[in-house]
């Protein structure tokens, strides 16, 4: 593994709403290394987007609050950074691709202008140079006829092409970190495949680190080097992509993997994780997943599990990993995966 480029330490974020304080992030720790892709997975409301938006400091100021924790980037704490400092970082060192390419582009500006904007603001390009660079970028992200396309407006592009434009904007200044928040969720499978390939290609060319947020485990298996599984505002399991898919330890990860339909199997009914995500207005005392976990023990209801070490790169927060915990049998399909893993097939 390369050098650490980003370090998130014990991050707590709350939203103040009419109903009370929503503790959206409740102690998140992770590191991002140079050149790697870290995927963050979890259900809606698990805090994936809030975590990454806090790295960009894009959370609404009027009702959100970073209660405690540190986000260390280039030896500086982003939590303490002023808006002015952040403006120098955003789009230059850290940039972001949003889920919906239809709404993240400005409909009244030509796409050429939108790509040139970060080049002129951050890259000190002159206008004519910026235009040349923009043509190069359009070519790089695979948009044909860049000389014509540069003068066109977003509505003249299809969904997949718009997402390519968004990627061109995000990569214009060769950022050190690229945050992709469900970049392919709004696209269909064939286009999704193309965009994923493109992102992997570009990552190698400009050597950026990617934080990839998604709820699609198929996409994760395709792009990620490491995976962090989030639940109820916390990371419950983190490991390399092989460890998470072939040797998952947390019952929530088991549930996530089991609820995907398999192409070859003829399963009668899809597995569904029972119950619903925790109400973060009143976060539960013990393990947030305990009420939905059929392997839950008494201690899960009383005390939050710490991160147990599985290997140097693999940690999971479940009491099942405690040396005194009873041995449990994971679901059959997970056992199959683990068996292959222990044989060293991967």
């Amino acid at each position: 593994m390369g050098k650490k480029i980003l370090e998130v330490n014990d991050l707590h974020i709350s939203f103040h709403t009419f109903a009370g304080e929503v503790q959206a992030i409740r102690g998140v720790d992770f590191d991002l290394y140079e050149g790697e892709t870290l995927a963050i997975v979890g259900e809606s409301g698990s805090g994936k987007s809030v975590t990454t938006k806090s790295i960009m400091k894009l959370l609404p100021k009027h009702n959100s609050e970073i209660k405690s924790g540190k986000i260390i980037f280039q030896d500086k704490d982003i939590v303490q950074a002023t808006e002015k400092q952040m403006q120098k970082i955003r789009g230059k060192d850290i940039s972001m691709i949003f889920q919906d390419p239809m709404t993240s582009l400005n409909p009244t500006m030509t796409i050429g202008k939108q790509i040139m904007e970060p080049l002129i603001k951050h890259g000190n390009f002159k206008k004519s140079e910026a235009r040349k660079q923009t043509l190069k970028l359009l070519d790089l992200v695979g948009i044909p006829k860049p000389k014509i396309r540069i003068k066109q407006y977003p509505h003249q592009f299809s969904g997949g092409m718009r997402q390519r434009v968004v990627i061109a904007i995000a990569l214009a200044c060769a950022p050190k970190i690229l945050i992709a928040d469900e970049p392919t969720t709004a696209l269909d499978v064939t286009i999704q495949g193309q965009i994923l390939e493109l992102m992997k290609d570009l990552q190698q060319q400009i050597e950026t680190s990617i934080i990839f947020i998604t709820h699609d485990l198929g996409v994760v298996a395709n792009v990620a080097d490491r995976v962090a599984v989030m639940y109820g505002g916390k990371i419950v399991e983190v490991g390399t992509v092989d460890e998470i898919f072939y040797n998952p330890q947390h019952p929530y990860t088991w549930g996530l993997i089991s609820s995907m339909p398999s192409l070859d199997g003829m399963d009668d009914e899809l597995y569904v994780i029972p119950g619903s995500p925790p109400d973060l207005l009143k976060p539960p005392k013990g393990d947030a997943f305990a009420p939905r976990n059929r392997y839950a023990m008494q201690i899960d209801l009383e005390k939050e599990p710490p991160m147990f070490k599985v290997s140097d790169t693999h940690y999971a927060a479940t009491w099942l990993l405690h040396p005194n915990a009873p041995k449990v049998e994971p679901p059959q399909n997970i056992q199959d995966r683990m068996q292959k893993f222990s044989k060293g097939a991967y």
Partner: protein
């Protein structure tokens, strides 16, 4: 399958937009398929291939440009009186893609679900109406007291359940589900798909399931039709389609599905589809031919022979 009753017959259906203008779009261009009673027919393809338009034309949200849709032998698109149309719409219902946009934010769940009941005058008293709504809510796995809430108080998965309850309210036989799970989380998708399957068993429903997520479509469908640029290119039972995809476009679609298996993903090879690769000569007739039992492919005579020799039934 042959002895099964045909519920819906789509014959040479055409749906064009902007007819006669320079920007004419042949959204659905001469497609034919049948749906049998009690089965789920999946329709897949990339965005813009005309799958949603097909669904909407079947239920007569659009007036077809050409061809016909026969529901139990009766043409949906011929001239109809208001009451005939109303009868038809009681039997056919639709579930929409976006659970946020398809529910009126100013109506209570109670009234959203009962709207169809009121229109078709299915209940006699207010009490009966209330009971019916509560029963429907329980059928789709929601709470009885959810009836007095507004749509914004629900999550995406719950809203989709309300959409399903609304479709069920008028006791339909046939439901067109237009990407009902695309906007939902993976774990919620499984819940909604299980619910749809359960309802199908209990109420003997027939589904037209439109989606671009092939893994879910394979899971829920008995037969699948693959669409490309307004045309059906392949129709087969879902297992046969996955084991023996014949049309190059189907093969490319299948190769694009990401699977939750990193070692498979590392070695995967995407096949891309080039519509010119067929190299059809002039005068060659390209239409749907039955290459194997119940397996139809849009192909020329030459391709037909080639597909047939490559086919290996399992």
């Amino acid at each position: 399958m042959a002895e099964k009753e045909k519920l819906l017959e789509v014959k040479n259906l055409k749906q064009y937009f902007n007819i006669g203008k320079s920007n004419e779009v042949k959204a659905v261009n001469d497609i034919s398929f049948d749906i049998y009673k009690g089965e789920t027919f999946g329709l897949v393809g990339e965005s813009g291939c005309g799958k949603s338009t097909t669904g909407r034309t079947i239920i007569r949200l659009y007036n077809a440009t050409g061809g016909s849709v026969l529901y139990r032998g009766q043409d949906v698109h011929e001239k109809k009186t208001k009451s005939e149309l109303k009868d038809l719409h009681q039997k056919m219902q639709m579930i929409y893609q976006d659970p946020y946009a398809s529910l009126n934010p100013r109506m209570k769940v109670n009234d959203i679900i009962a709207e169809g009941i009121d229109i078709h005058e299915l209940v006699k008293s207010k009490k009966e109406r209330k009971d019916k709504v509560q029963e429907l809510l329980e059928t789709v796995g929601l709470n009885r007291d959810h009836a007095n809430r507004y749509p914004h108080e629900f999550s995406g998965g719950q809203r989709q359940r309300i959409g399903i309850a609304r479709a069920l309210a008028v006791n339909p036989e046939f439901i067109i589900a237009d990407e009902p799970i695309s906007a939902l989380d993976v774990s919620i998708q499984a819940q909604v798909v299980n619910l749809l399957k359960k309802l199908q068993r209990e109420k003997d429903l027939t589904y037209l399931f439109i989606a671009h997520d092939l893994s879910m479509v394979k899971y829920i469908s008995d037969r699948i039709g693959v669409m490309y640029q307004g045309k059906l290119v392949e129709v087969a039972t879902s297992d046969d389609l996955y084991l023996n995809p014949m049309h190059p476009y189907t093969q490319s679609l299948l190769s694009a599905i990401p699977l939750p298996d990193p070692s498979y993903e590392r070695t995967r090879r995407r096949i891309s589809y080039d519509p010119t690769s067929h190299g059809y000569e002039e005068g060659e007739e390209v239409y749907m031919r039955e290459v194997a039992p119940n397996h139809y492919v849009n192909c020329s005579e030459k391709e037909y022979k080639q597909y047939q020799s490559n086919y290996n039934p399992k």
